[in-house]
């Protein structure tokens, strides 16, 4: 069984798909619904082939790859600063959060450590991109379940966070601000004050969402007890982030094994978990994390040390030979980079461990027996970004 397009494998799969006798006692005929690459509920181009018995999903198979840009092949011919611009396009909602683990892995290989002020600003921007990412989830999840207004509130209040990221880094979505050994530039005047009231707006947004969505009985009836993922299944599939914490696993990379470049130990904050592991649990954990992130940013803003933003690093970066793997708690889950370097300008191999890839591989397991509307709420609650899956 070596040939990739092995005819027996494919024909057996095709036979299974066409075997329409789904429900023998009712003699009903199954329907294969193709929630194609272009569908409002898949955040981008994910295709789900669902075999239905009436409205009940017999089997749902997500098919990624419509947005595969071949990042790991591109990293073989790009230097470190160029990969940095490439990498913040993986999870384009929380884009600064993609650069951080890559830069930390390169810093560990080079044995360089960013000055404290740079680490502070890096952690602040890390949490700002988390808010930008997850606040859109809250609005978008309401949109997918029918509550249109939540979506508009999310976009409205997220705008303040994006403006702050643009004021500091120059790019709203693709900051390209993190450098090996520190940051590209320091903060502009008045940035801290503006970020403070941006955070107040986010906290007000959280209260509004609490009334409009989380507390809404219809929303709860659509999400409680649906798409339950027990802890051991979540661990064995490698689910991470809010999806894992919603199944009751108290694990957060920012607290348990925080890489040296971030300053989460200087802030007192709480890791939120939820026992049920259902769609509501995941939404609830992310909702609390947004509020927690806003409080973290406010604390960090008040305690920024002064000092340089860039350590002594040669202009042309040649990372010494070696391998390193750094994983951080990104908005979507645990994201990590395994960099193999042979001492040149260009890394030899970069394995990108993205959170949504594992988060979506659980769909065939969790979607069995769900209704079509539940499939949408399960997909929405797992909260994946297409660039994260397809890399």
């Amino acid at each position: 069984m070596t040939a990739t397009s092995d005819p027996t494998q494919l024909s057996e799969l095709a036979a299974r798909a066409t075997d329409n006798r789904v429900n023998l006692d009712f003699e009903t005929e199954g329907m294969t619904l193709n929630m194609g690459p272009q569908h409002p509920a898949t955040h981008g181009t994910l295709r789900i082939v669902a075999r239905l018995d009436g409205e009940q999903v017999v089997s749902a198979e997500p098919i990624p790859g419509y947005m595969h840009r071949g990042y790991e092949k591109l990293t073989e011919v790009r230097s470190y600063p160029q990969i940095n611009t490439l990498v913040n396009r993986i999870d384009w909602l929380g884009s600064f959060a993609n650069e951080v683990p890559f830069i930390l892995a390169a810093e560990r290989l080079m044995g360089v450590e960013a000055p404290p002020r740079a680490q502070w600003i890096r952690t602040i921007l890390f949490e700002l991109s988390r808010i930008a990412n997850i606040s859109l989830f809250l609005g978008d999840y309401g949109l997918q379940l029918g509550g249109m207004t939540a979506g508009f509130y999310a976009f409205r209040d997220r705008e303040h966070v994006l403006n702050q990221i643009e004021a500091a880094t120059g790019g709203r979505f693709h900051p390209n601000y993190d450098r090996i050994g520190g940051l590209k530039d320091d903060l502009p005047k008045g940035w801290i004050a503006n970020t403070h009231n941006a955070m107040d707006k986010i906290l007000a947004f959280c209260d509004e969402m609490d009334d409009l969505l989380i507390g809404n009985e219809i929303f709860q009836s659509r999400t409680r007890g649906i798409g339950v993922i027990p802890a051991d299944i979540a661990l064995s599939y490698g689910l991470s982030g809010a999806n894992l914490r919603a199944s009751g696993v108290d694990w957060d990379l920012r607290r348990d094994s925080c890489p040296p470049g971030l300053v989460y130990d200087q802030v007192d904050w709480k890791v939120w978990t939820h026992p049920d592991g259902d769609c509501f649990g995941r939404t609830w954990v992310r909702f609390q994390e947004t509020r927690e992130a806003a409080l973290i940013v406010k604390q960090l803003l008040d305690t920024i040390p002064s000092g340089p933003v860039m350590a002594k690093v040669p202009r042309i970066i040649k990372v010494p030979e070696g391998e390193a793997y750094v994983e951080t708690e990104n908005p979507l889950g645990a994201m990590g980079y395994y960099i193999v370097s042979k001492g040149d300008l260009v890394p030899f191999r970069v394995k990108i461990r993205s959170a949504s890839f594992n988060n979506i591989s659980v769909v065939p397991w969790v979607a069995r027996g769900a209704y079509v509307p539940d499939l949408i709420s399960i997909l929405g609650s797992l909260y994946f970004i297409l660039g994260d899956i397809d890399r």
Binding site: M31, L33, N34, H39, P40, A41, E55, G142, L143, Q144, L145, G146, G147, M148, T149, F152, Y153, R156, L212, L213, N216, I218, F219, S221, R222, Y371, V372, P373, D374, I376
Partner: protein
């Protein structure tokens, strides 16, 4: 002025012609006004934005622009579609809406035909749209629209029952089926002797009013009951394959039905075109009737659209169990209580 109107007694064919012209003018304009005010303006205000501003003064002619846009779009039918049924499905839905306007009284004499079985007729005709929706869903040879059509069939039938039972309470209290009769009953009635504002049935029949509103929300397939057109799941359900003026007819039918159901609700529960301090027989109602009715309709439809913009949608089975297990028993209890009180008082 009143003499002129009273003596104006046109032959039968002329009066039908006038009535047809009035209806074909009233239905699109009311749908446009309702769509414009609520779908564009009120929804945008609720979402901290201003809505369309470019077309017409402050964006008021936007729906007209959309209408023209739809008209000049190509009318596509999917090749696997059952063409004849595919083409007449929107007309069936629009027909049920037009028939509803026939019985809607804007004042004592301004009504197309004052049926004495008005309520019975309205309830019967409003279930016609189910056929149109099912035809659209089935004929467009598209899995998504098939699911949309079947969901619509299940939902619309399930919510016919609570609507009829809710209206039954009003009919028992008014003692008549004719819509104008109910308006007169509300105007002259009194709540335990105190008849300063007559007896709008919303005060005594508030349970019936709540059930009627929920049923209307479901008839119009609006959130929280918008499974048939769940745009994030089955991409606007049975309307998925429709383009051009057929989609415009669906759009028109949806808002015209919203207007007429809000009209029926305001007549049954808010005293219709009558205003408490003006006696129902005065001739002022030739002018005042439609305005009062329009104001009450706007109030009721604000309630309908307000719920539409706020709530997520029920799942299919939750929606059905809400109708069968909650609304219908409640409506039956309401009827029993009304009947007992009617006899006792």
């Amino acid at each position: 002025m009143t003499l002129l109107l009273a003596s104006f007694d046109p032959p039968y064919w002329l009066s039908t012609l006038i009535k047809v012209l009035v209806i074909s003018a009233v239905v699109p304009t009311t749908a446009l006004i309702l769509g414009m005010v609520f779908l564009f303006k009120v929804m945008s205000w609720m979402q901290s934005r201003l809505g369309p501003q470019e077309a017409g003064p402050r964006g008021t002619l936007q729906l007209l622009a959309d209408g023209v846009k739809f008209l000049q779009k190509e009318d596509i039918a999917p090749n696997g579609a059952d063409l004849f049924i595919f083409k007449i499905a929107p007309l069936v839905v629009l027909m049920s809406t037009l028939l509803l306007y026939v019985a809607l009284p804007a004042s004592a004499h301004l009504v197309i035909s004052d049926l004495d079985v008005g309520v019975f007729y309205v309830m019967a005709v409003s279930s016609l749209s189910v056929l149109g929706v099912l035809m659209a869903g089935w004929a467009s040879a598209n899995k998504y629209s098939l699911m949309g059509g079947l969901r619509a069939a299940g939902q619309l039938i399930a919510y016919e029952l609570p609507m009829v039972l809710a209206v039954l309470g009003v009919v028992i209290q008014a003692g008549t089926l004719s819509l104008n009769g109910i308006v007169f009953a509300q105007a002259d009635g009194s709540i335990f002797g105190w008849d300063a504002i007559g007896n709008p049935y919303i005060l005594t029949q508030f349970v019936g009013f709540a059930i009627f509103l929920a049923a209307v929300q479901a008839e119009l397939t609006q959130p929280p009951f918008d499974m048939p057109v769940a745009e994030s799941e089955i991409v606007s359900g049975y309307q998925v394959e429709y383009t051009g003026f057929r989609f415009l007819i669906f759009f028109l039918a949806e808002f015209a039905t919203a207007f007429v159901f809000a009209g029926v609700a305001s007549i049954l529960f808010l005293g219709g075109w009558a205003v408490p301090w003006l006696d129902t027989s005065s001739d002022w109602y030739y002018v005042l009737g439609p305005i009062v009715l329009f104001a009450k309709v706007m109030l009721v439809s604000f309630l309908i659209f307000w719920i539409r913009f706020t709530y997520p949608r029920f799942r299919e089975d939750q929606l059905q169990s809400f109708a069968w297990k909650f609304l219908i028993p409640l409506a039956l209890v309401n009827i029993v209580v009304t009947a007992v009180l009617k006899v006792v008082l």
